[in-house]
Amino acid sequence: MTTYTSATDADRQEMLAAIGVDSVDALFADIPESLRLTAPLELGPGLSEQEVYDELRALAARNASTEDETSFLGAGMYDHYVPSLIDSIISRSEFLTPYTPYQPEVSQGGLQAMFEYQTAICELTGLPVSNASVYEGPSAVAAAGYVAKHTNGRPKFIISRGVHPHSRETLRTHAHAWGMEVIEAPLQDGVTVLPELGDDVSAVIVQQPNFLGSVEDLEALSRAAHDAGAVAICACDPLPLSLLRSPGECGIDIAVGEGQTLGNRLDFGGPSFGFFATSQALLRRIPGRISGETRDSDGKRGFVLTLQTREQHIRREKATSNICTAQALNALAGVIYLSWLGQRGIVELTELMLQRTAYARQRLAGLDGVELLHEQPVVREFAVGLDAPVEAVMKRCLEQGINPGYALGGDYPEHANGLLIAITERRTRAEIDRLADVLGAAVAAERGRTLQEVGA
């Protein structure tokens, strides 16, 4: 059994003596006899480090990672290259192990990094204020809804069907507790069409680019929201934002999003981080930590957690949110990644994805039995419809070592055989060509089968 405690038997005896009790059990006297466990927990014996390593390696070996297949999966998290310097920095114990920086004098490293992070997020979103991170993308959408609720107290959310299904469901989970209604705005030709917006609408929530990959007309959407006196909320994908008009320019009040693509690994969905940026007007309603600049008693610049009167530990039931531990280390990876990309690099990276995605879209559109679900401009992801059962087609592709993407049918019954395909900088032309060949063959084969069946 591994142990991380240092108390030797001699230590224990000395310590008990100092306390003035004769056994460790005596320390648990406050626990009613009837509640004390008499048998050990059913967890089995502890193992040595090597045994645990071997067990976890065996489990990990039963997962097909992006190293084991050519993956075109995206749909909210993406296979980007994570530069080596991120691991080497965030694995430093000084970043990895401290708690939330409650003692700023010995936490300047973390606090300054948060300040740098906030600056970069403001630049990406075109908004003046960012917090230091929230949990992740979909819960950030709900958190934005909570801000809207407090801002205008109206009973309805209008959310586009172009918003990630997980975000929509997460919002619903929360809205129910707030006694609020969630209405979905449909997509037409791949982009959002808003219904009439009455004065009962608290917020309009869209995604940029949306779940099917389309670039939305953010300006029109936020104008519509504002005309109705509603808060305009946008969930956005940070890398495409390097090319697209920013939420801020388009009049969005709250921009949130999933930060995984900024230097965080996939980790089967987490931990990553959510970003949360707002207009100046909403500064004091933001959830979570914010790092702010100040001076020390010698007049030297320093950073502290600021505007804490928003937070649970000060305001308790009146807090703007209950969030406490967030995702600081993942946000740190985010700002390191953005510094690594740099002002020109982020554009070059996104343009590379834009070009390869356009190439892939064209290649696939040219296949028999494959057509585009929409013709809207896209950046890193696009959707196609197959004239064959998508499940069977995917199985065939997987046998060739290609994971062709995300099947849309579950979330979009109207696209029963829809497939969402992501092209990051990791996917080369050769891999895209291979996808086209394999997918084309798989669709042809499946159509053949269905025809036969019909024939039969």
Partner: protein
Amino acid sequence: MTLSNISAADDELTIYERSKPGRRAFVAPALDVPERPLDELLAPALRRERAPRLPEVSEPEIVRHYNRLSKRNFDLDTGFYPLGSCTMKHNPKLHERVAALPGHAKLHPLQRPERAQGALELMWRLQDALSEIAGLPHVSLQPSAGSHGELAGVLLTRAYHEDRGEQRTKVLTPDTAHGTNPATVTMAGYEVVKVGTDAHGNVDIEDLRAKADEDVACLMLTNPSTLGLFEPQIQEIAEIVHGVGATLYYDGANLNAIMGICRPGDMGFDIVHFNLHKSFTQPHGGGGPGAGPIAVSDRIEPFLPRPQVVRRDRHNGDGPVFALDYDRPRSIGRLRGFQGNFGVFVRSYAYIRSLGAAGLRDVSEVAVLNANYLLAKLRNTTDPPLADLLPVAFDRICMHEFVLSGAPMKRELGIRTLDLAKRLLDHGVHPPTVYFPLLVDEALLVEPTETETKETLDRFADIVAEILREAREDPEVARTAPHTTPVRRLDEAAAARRPVVRQPL
């Protein structure tokens, strides 16, 4: 002898202040497809005029910048970190290794279940272990942190009552509760009602009786409480709460005191959250990531978040398959995207496997032993008389942490708890949690954890004594502390008055 220091000044630049046009770290892979005009792919109207302003720096500059920044942080691998309620225990290095295995780190969250069996089985086994530890049959790993778990718990409570056709409006929390409890209650659409604490530091049973009525949906409790005391009347409390049809919620932040010794489920709790970043060693990362799984009783199970990791036995004897179950009609729905903070699950699972049942129990025994030893050590210090200057808030055997009051110290020596905390920084020790719980005047909440040595505890007691002796001579030293940190005491008020929350460019 005055020592000028040019390099220090350089230490304080931000990454933006180091930026210089034309510098770069990233280079893009070669464009290998026919290039198409940008306007064709993205009409100018859709494009921003100016790229976001990001730093322009080379790899060596980035590495040095963040490396130096890191040295301006105090951390657990550097020194003692008795931050009460935060369980700053050692983070085993094995956990980082196994979390980084490509099969974990490079696994896409939407990978098809049949191609992610290892991950799903790991989650299932972790659920199973947490269920055993909590003494409750069902677990959801989805919540991202403790307060997220609290929200899940209160939303489950709502779903439970609504399912029975009840509209309850209030949630009870003790006045010792952590801030996230009341904040969660509000966020879940309930009204907070405070329950008092009695002279022994326990829940004021009479007050509880008085306030527990049919409008109460839930009582949220931390046991051991934030005072570091085990609630001996917990069974009676459970009866009262259940008596009015409310649920009993367990805030698991303090679970480190009782693992393998007793179980919330056996105490009558309906819902428990775990802080995997406390009791189960996920490193805190300077403010996350964490994970806040919840364990619940049978009557709460139908409402658990979607999806649930389930194990299905195959009848062909092929061994079980693990799946994501979305078919949960009465579920409260999702609380976040995908399956939760999987990387955290890997670490906590490795921890449980390494220690096993006996190891986990030993964790709690030593956590409580260390706390009581440090308390005794402090109280037995006569120069100065710490028992008088920093009295323990409630004179009882404590669990894994204890609360001191700095009020007498403030009166006698003229230094506040904050000053003591800041002076501790000069001694290379992280201060305990200060001014929490609110109940105790000038509170210090001290949690040594089980991974600290007796020598470290002895040293801490010596340092505290030394600081107070020093204050007796010259309180100014502590009042103006810290003196040896990268920056001196920071003006938080000024920061809040004129917030500068981003670098002006």
